[in-house]
Symmetry: C2
Subunit: 357 residues, 2 copies
DNA sequence: CTGAAAGCGCTTACAG
DNA sequence: CTGAAAGCGCTTACAG
């Protein structure tokens, strides 16, 4: 591959001049510029980003370590992050932790070794040692979605408490009396917060959340299936299940189906994180939707600020409840206001309703 | 951040010796090794991968450019790729083309500038210029899933023809007489092949595929919705729709639901690419499943071979039909043989069937 | 406006 | 077994 000295030779100038032209430095004569550009074209020259990074001590690269690529929520987040990063002139390298702290550490280490300019992290576990190292070492870090207590970096996330409260009101209004939750790992903030919010909202209504009704999952589908099965094996199973993410809801659906249970007649289901498929599941799943794109954008902006040496504030955006049929509700007769097209819930038509008993 | 010379100073040896220790070079005295290791530990030293890459001319990094991160098929592929790459000591940088050739080129260029050791590509369009440049420039390239005619690099993909033939037999056996397809872009191999296979299989049965029954999509959900709507606006709409990927099937479901159509009573639906949600949609969707993990692994292995200077062969794995209820079939009474757990289709229980008319 | 030179942090023949 | 030196491909004060 052609290097800068080849271009310099071809253009009859020094490497310094080639570099100046390529970096838009103003003090280059029009003639030199033209000859350099012609040489670049002739040789198909592309600057070596590795060499440039070594010299400038910046890679124009952001690291994004997410907990699970198979989770549509994180996929959507990753897409938003990449878009905003690209707009700001950054590339992003995604590391998939697969909900495994050891894999997360592997990716953080690799990213740090590559000297990324900043790190966006949705921690899969409580281990903060490596992250503290990164921060101490001067790498800007921003948490997104999940964070770690005691690590003083900005956090960009959604607050689902109001939506969970709404969900609980919804469940109780529909007559469910034995609500259960499939929780994420207590070692993650979202794992803990969603249970706390659920328990608190139930307590407001005088409803208890017994330990047996708290299933322990890991945010992945299989754990949702197992937790749901354990609920169903209880002498007195719950009559409603709130899955703390969409994958565990998928697993719970698997379990319900395997037992021949009807949703919501036999058991209600709701999920944290809304995804397009929830409109088409049988039945459509009531879910708490996060403003994922906004979170991704805000996270990148915060990180960019941090890289620029400023101290960005944390950002908390509200999540909202999207009612469908999986808890037994009929969708409201009309949309409550202007709603973006992809969020319009279609009521079942007269025709398809006629097929019901 | 500590550099190698800091470690050398701390250990009282030269940078060369530090380097040798870190790279497991045999000729280092035990004493030197111990002192270097102690210094590394004391300083929390981590080698700068940028500098190392510049010197060794290898980045131990693979690029993976996929057509759409929001597509669960590509997400699963990316995960398999990363796993196999990690096992082989590589990192992978994912570029999301979002089905846009311009974005794809942006990512390829960025990856090449970063001097990745090899490129895995599922082309979003027919543009081969940049790819040919890469190959000429000596970067190993392997196509995965999709490929480009006339570019002589190994291809790792699934052959869905037999499965499509099976699907067509299935549709016709169930009495469907006006099958249509929502195709991907004809500029992609999978976009073209899936239509061709569908048309050929129909022809075998003496059934025509009129142009009006070929909807043009771009593999993304919205295009599936639009194509389905156009079908439904026809004076004589099709009675079965085959979506060439899972996202367009999602869009078609949106359209059917908006019109109040029942699947499969009013219109049948099948999709290329199987995803976990298809088990739980209303109704469960009959789909053609690719051996995604195997494809990802094989692609990385081929690329690694290529990087090692050998000439790996292309790999073609068969796809298979997974029958569910969206075309009107009842699942077979028992599994036809050993089936991995996640692929077991549960028949609706007596209990839930009783809720039907 | 331009070039020679230094240097980013490594690795690796080469000489001892 | 070990170190001094060169060099990977850039960028950027510095001097002219």
């Amino acid at each position: 591959m052609a290097a800068i000295k080849d271009v310099a030779a071809e253009a009859g100038v020094s490497a310094a001049t080639v570099s100046r032209v390529l970096n838009g430095h103003p003090s280059v004569s029009p003639e030199s510029r033209a000859r350099v550009l012609a040489a670049v074209d002739a040789l198909g020259y592309r600057p070596n980003a590795v060499a440039r990074s070594l010299r400038t001590d910046e890679t124009r690269t952001l690291g994004l370590v997410i907990s699970d690529v198979l989770n549509p929520y994180f996929t959507a987040l990753a897409r938003a992050v990449e878009e905003e990063a690209r707009a700001l002139g950054y590339s992003v390298i995604i590391g998939n932790a697969d909900e495994r702290p050891d894999l997360q550490d592997h990716h953080i280490r690799t990213l740090l070794d590559r000297r990324i300019d900043g790190l966006l992290l949705s921690p899969a576990g409580p281990g903060a040692e490596l992250i503290l190292d990164a921060v101490r070492g001067g790498t800007p870090v921003v948490f997104v979605d999940r964070w770690i207590h005691g690590v003083d970096v900005p956090v960009v996330r959604a607050d689902g408490r109001a939506a969970v409260r709404e969900l609980v009101g919804h469940l109780l209004a529909l007559g469910h009396r034995r609500p259960a939750i499939i929780a994420g790992p207590a070692s993650t903030t979202t794992g803990k917060e969603r249970v706390d919010a659920f328990r608190a909202a139930l307590a407001d209504h005088g409803v208890a959340l017994p330990d047996a009704y708290i299933g322990q999952g890991d945010f992945q589908a299989e754990s949702g299936r197992l937790a749901a099965e354990r609920f169903l094996d209880l002498p007195r199973p719950p009559d409603a299940v709130f899955a703390a993410d969409n994958l565990m809801a998928l697993g719970a659906l698997d379990a319900f189906r395997a037992r021949g249970l009807r949703v919501p007649e036999d058991i209600a289901l709701a999920a944290f994180d809304d995804i397009p498929w929830f409109v088409h599941t049988d039945p459509p799943v009531t879910a708490i939707a996060q403003p994922t794109d906004e979170l991704g954008r805000a996270a990148v902006q915060a990180l960019a600020e941090n890289i620029a040496g400023r101290e960005p504030p944390s950002v908390t955006l509200p999540a909202r409840l999207v009612v469908r049929r999986s808890c037994g509700a009929n969708p409201p007769p009309g949309p409550p206001g202007p709603v973006p097209p992809e969020h319009i819930e279609h009521t079942p038509s007269a025709r398809s309703q006629r097929s019901d008993p």
